[in-house]
């Protein structure tokens, strides 16, 4: 595979940060627009792929801290479980906040929806951690195949490694 061009790497480097902003927007507006935790989390997780294309393997592996994404996954999953426990006098996953508030008109500017927004944020954390760790693990496995076995090929985007 030939090295990727400068245009691709530069655009990836700039565009990755916009993907974070767009993913957080999708997560935070998940209760009133199409989207939610899973979709926005998948969008945010493309950040690592863009970073991988932009900076190459060695700098990518030196820069990314896998433990942080593991912590993100853990916090998201536990928060999702605890938000489910919030409705426990009635039932698991009972939306007690929205029920306690009573019916509100739908024409309000920002609907609150009880625990739905909180669960969106928790699931967003979880999906960001999981998919970023998948990208990280799979890339580190591919990289050691290429360099360790001495096959020589597939050095593609390692051009900017120093």
């Amino acid at each position: 595979m030939k090295p990727l061009s400068v245009i691709v790497t530069t655009v990836s480097d700039v565009f990755a940060w916009f993907m974070i902003v767009f993913g957080v927007y999708v997560i935070l507006n998940g209760h009133s627009t199409p989207g939610g935790g899973f979709q926005g989390g998948a969008i945010v997780a493309t950040f690592l792929s863009f970073m991988l294309v932009a900076h190459g393997g060695k700098r990518f592996l030196a820069w990314v801290n896998g433990g942080m994404y593991g912590l993100l996954e853990f916090v998201g999953l536990m928060a999702f479980f605890l938000f489910g426990c919030l409705g426990f006098p009635n039932s698991f996953f009972h939306n007690s906040i929205a029920v306690a508030q009573g019916a509100r008109p739908l024409s309000e500017w920002l609907p609150y929806c009880g625990t739905i927004s909180l669960m969106n944020a928790a699931v967003g954390f979880e999906v960001v951690g999981a998919l970023s760790l998948v990208v990280l693990y799979m890339y580190s496995s591919i990289r050691m195949v290429d360099t360790g076995a001495g096959m020589g090929g597939e050095r593609g985007h390692d051009r900017f490694d120093r």
Binding site: G30, H31, S32, T33, P34, G36, F38, E73, L77, F80, F81, G84, F92, F93, N95, A98, V99, Q101, A103, R104, L106, P111, Y112, C113, G114, T115, I116, M119, N120, V123, E126, V127, A130, L133, V134, Y137, M138, S140, S141, R143, M144, V145, G148, A149
Partner: protein, 90 residues
């Protein structure tokens, strides 16, 4: 020879699929909509949630979403255990 048998099997299966699609309800007219109508009318009133799909994912069918998150976590755990040697060649 083998490929001919495969193609014949796929064609027969496709014919069966098209026959099945003739037998189900016509497109655009679902048959039993009672539960969906109930949720469509009650979700904005009870939960003040304008997005009915999100309300269903996180509230009415929260157990499904918990299982979904568990499946994602299980897949991540499997991948981490497959690559747990940190990239050294065996």
């Amino acid at each position: 020879m083998k490929k001919t048998i495969f193609i014949a099997a796929v064609i027969v299966l496709g014919g069966l699929l098209c026959g099945m699609f003739e037998a189900i309800h016509p497109f655009g007219v679902p048959v039993s909509v009672d539960m969906d109508e109930y949720i469509l009318t009650r979700a904005p009133v009870d939960r003040s949630a304008p997005n009915v799909v999100t309300s269903m994912v996180f509230d009415y069918r929260g157990f499904d979403t918990l299982g979904e998150a568990a499946v994602l976590f299980t897949a991540l755990t499997s991948i981490a255990s497959l690559f747990r040697d940190g990239g050294k060649k065996e």
